[in-house]
Structure formats: C-alpha cells, structure tokens
Amino acid sequence: MRARRFVLPILFVASFLGLWELAAHLGWINASLFAPPSSIARDLVRLHTRKLPERSLLLTHIGASLQRVFLAASLGTVAGVMMGILMGASRLVYRFFDPIITLLMPIPGIAQAPLFIIWLGFGDPTIVTVGAIAAFFPIAFNTAAGVRSADPQIVRAAHIMGVSRAGSLVRVYLPAAGGHIMAGVKLGWARCWRTVIAVEFVAAASWGLGYMIWDASEYIRSGIVYGGILMMMLIYFVLERVLFDGIERLTVRRWGMIRS
C-alpha cells in the first residue's frame, strides 16, 4: 500500500520525462525551447563545474538567494512578531493597523521593486527590503490573531495571581499565540522566498537563483531556466520538510502549543 503511493507518481513522472526526451529527439517539439531532461541535467552540471577550482556558479547563485532569504525573513520575522504583539495587546493599535495591512498585503513584491530600486539601487538592499516586507505581513497578522485568541479566563487568572502586564505577555499571551506565530512564520518565510526570487528577476545585480533564471531566459537558454525551477522545487522541499518541520518539532510541538 505504502509502496504504491510512490510507484504511481514516480512512474508518471518518469514516463512524462521519457516522452519529453523522446519528443525532443524526434523533433516533435523544439528542443531549444523545450530543453529535454538530458540537456537540463547537462546544463546544470556544466553550470556547477565550469569554473570549479574557484567556485561553482550554480551554488553561488543558490547561496546568494538563500542568504537574502534568511536575512530578509529574519528581519521580517522580528518586526512582524513585535508588530503582532503590539496589535494583539492593544485594541487601538489593532484597529489602526488592520486596515493598512489588509490593503498593503495583496500588493506583490515585484510591484514594489521599482520603487525600492529608485530609493536603494539595484542589488541586495532592495531585494532584502522587499523580501522582509513580504515576510512581515503574514507574521504580524498571525501573531496578532494568536495573541488576541488568548483565553481571557487564563489572562484574568494570571492577573489575580499577581502576574504583571509584561509578565503575562511572556507567560500567557506568547504561549497562547505559539501555534499561530509558527503558522505565520511558515507563511511569511514561504512568501519571502517567492518574493526574493521574483525581485531578483528585476533587481539583482549579478547573482541569485532568480537572476540566473531570468538571465538564461533572455538568451533563451531553456535548459538553465527549467533547471533553475527544478532547483527551486528542491530547495523549497528541503526548507519546508527539514527546516520547518524540525523547528516546529523542537519548539511549539514540544512545548505542547499545538497537537501533532
């Protein structure tokens, strides 16, 4: 039963790739626009090995993007959690910022990019800023929702037992909001990742996975374009399954904030 779950999709993907390869070789599809799997693999390997003694071009691109994502998402997380706590703790702050977040959140990062390019120039400052903004919104939103969802009975109980306002933040509100914050952080980091790649299309100076894909598409190097997307899938998979599930297990699950 368990084996079947893997066999079918693998069979499907394998036959799809096989058909693609065959079609390219028989000339049914234009192989320079639809680079077959074999040439995608070749392009990726070549990108990795070409300047190898000094550096791997492929890994440098990936590293540049990941660095930006980590920096941007960390900034967004800190700012978002702080904002969320303020919004959760004060009704006035919530009423003030809720409409603003509602209206600003749907604006895609790539649309903000031209503005920040003018202010901060091409490259890291713009990409990291827009990425941080992308992470900020869902994290602030979810943290606020989490803090607001704290059971008033427990808040009152803590108050009666002499816990100060600041103390109840650490002991009551944050534990109550843990699951929400984690959900927000996950959303925020995923959004940040997407935004960084997108902004790299228009604002990267010379490195980054997004830049790599974009540059390749301008020269119609379709193998690298598809290869770059493949890399994105891989990285996302690793980040989600390994990093986030790990963090979740070590924190909110272990602390019993969410049930597994």
Binding site: P9, V13, R95, F96, I118, W119, I229, M233
Partner: protein, 274 residues
C-alpha cells in the same frame, strides 16, 4: 438569519453601522497621509524621493481624467485577468473534480501537484516568455497558473469531504457527469471551492502584475505602468500604481467573492452569515 442575537445590540440603521465601519477603515489611512504630507512639507525628506499624498492624488486624478491613461492600463489588465481567471476556474474545477473522483489519478498526480505548487507562479514567467512569446499570452498563462493550483487543490479537498453516501445515492438515481457534478459535488464542496476561488483571484491578480512587468511586448497594464515609471524615475506614478493594485486586489476579494458567497453558500445556508 439569526435575528435573535442581533436585535438588542443594533439600535440604529444598518447603513449607519456600515458608515462607522467604513470610517474606521479609512481613518488610519487619513492619519498616515497627514503625517506623511507634513514630513515632506517640513522638508525632512525630498519630495522627489517621497512625493506627498497630495501630489500622488493629483497625479492619480490627472491619469484618470483627460486621456484616461489609468483606465486604459487598468482595462487591459482586467481583460487579461478575466480571461486567465476564467480559464483557471474552468480547468481547476474540472481537473480537481476528476482527481477527487478517481483514486488512481489522484495518487498519480498529487505528489506532482504539491511539488508544482511550491514553485512561485512568477518563476514560470521566464518559461512562458520562451515558449509563448513576450506578449499577452505569457501574461494570461501566468494569471491562469496563479489561479489554477489554488482552485484545483481546494476543489479536490472539497469534493473529498462530500459524503460518499450522497454521491452513491445520486449515482443510484442515475446522476452522472455534469448532472452529478452540478447537483451533488459542487454544492457539497462549495465552501472549499469558494476558498479556492478566493485564494485564486488573489494569486491571479498578483501574477498578472508580475507578468505584465516582465513581458517586454506588453505596453499597457497596471503592472506595466509601474515598470515604465522606472525609466523616468517617476516615483509618483509608482505610488499611484501601487495604490491601484492594493485597492483593486481588495475590491476583487471583497466585492466579487462576497457576491459569489452570497449567491451560493449563504443562500444555501451552508455557512452562518457574519
């Protein structure tokens, strides 16, 4: 619906409630605009880098009147959005239903689907630029893809939640194909389907803006307006564009989806009215 719980608290007319609600929504923006205006007027930041709200509104007015450039940009965007989203809706519903009804297909596709969902829509744009060209087709494909996955995924989830006995009962009574879909599957899964449609219009809208910016042959469109403003360092137009994007996204979500919800699940009594 549940008038009992509402009756004591609402003494004034509902339109008055709405007005207060709207006021609370608009007030923060007015406060921020006022502070922003003041900061620029006092001269703490340069008006070319950060144009004051008054200049932005004036510019927006200019773009709306006269030749109506803004309407032309927005109109073109809306045409692309409608085509792409309609295709995504049709394909997403059909694909989702087929997958939900057929276990073998579902087992075959769902890992692939979750892998494809992880790739941001905008990352497919370079692929479309290569394969579909630099014009409208690429933008529409991006809009389509943005909406498709959300709609398909939520349709699958929705139909999986429909009571199997209902489906069997309908099948016993001779319902197949479209009839089965429209009479049993769609109503039964509509809460989840609407979630998908709602997420989908948001993703489609964002993909549209990105697609317009990246497609070189596209001349008009709200995304293009922002992108072109870069060549003249015209920050004011960028702000107008961002304002319109935020506002339109909001309105699409509230008006379109609220209307859809009212026409379907609320009328059918599947959710309690808020």
């Amino acid at each position: 619906m549940n008038g009992q719980t509402q009756a004591p608290s609402t003494k004034h007319a509902p339109w008055k409630d709405r007005l207060i609600h709207a006021g609370q929504f608009v007030l923060p923006f007015l406060v921020i605009a006022a502070v922003w205006e003041l900061i620029v007027r006092v001269g703490w930041v340069s008006a070319t880098a950060l144009p004051p709200p008054s200049a932005i509104l004036q510019r927006a007015w200019e773009l709306c009147t006269g030749e109506g450039l803004l309407w032309h940009h927005l109109g073109q965007s809306m045409v692309r959005l409608s085509i792409g989203y309609a295709l995504a809706m049709g394909a997403g519903l059909v694909f989702g239903t087929i997958l939900a009804m057929n276990r073998v297909l579902r087992e075959m596709f769902s890992p692939v689907l979750s892998l494809l969902i992880s790739v941001p829509t905008i990352a497919w744009v370079p692929v479309f630029l290569i394969t579909l060209g630099l014009g409208d087709r690429t933008v529409i494909a991006a809009v389509f893809l943005g909406g498709f996955f959300a709609i398909a995924y939520n349709t699958i989830r929705g139909i999986e939640m429909v009571d199997v006995n209902r489906i069997r009962a309908a099948q016993t009574m001779g319902a197949r194909g479209i009839r089965l879909f429209s009479a049993v599957l769609l109503p039964g899964s509509s809460v989840s389907v609407l979630t998908g449609l709602r997420l989908g219009i948001g993703y489609s809208w964002r993909a549209l803006v990105g697609g317009e910016m990246l497609s070189a042959m596209v001349r008009w469109g709200i995304g293009k307006m922002i992108y072109q403003a870069r060549f003249w360092n015209d920050v004011t137009v960028m702000f107008v564009g961002l304002m319109v994007i935020g506002l339109t996204g909001f309105l699409l979500d509230r008006l379109l989806i609220r209307w859809l919800e009212r026409a379907t699940i609320e009328r059918w009594g599947m959710v309690t009215e808020r």
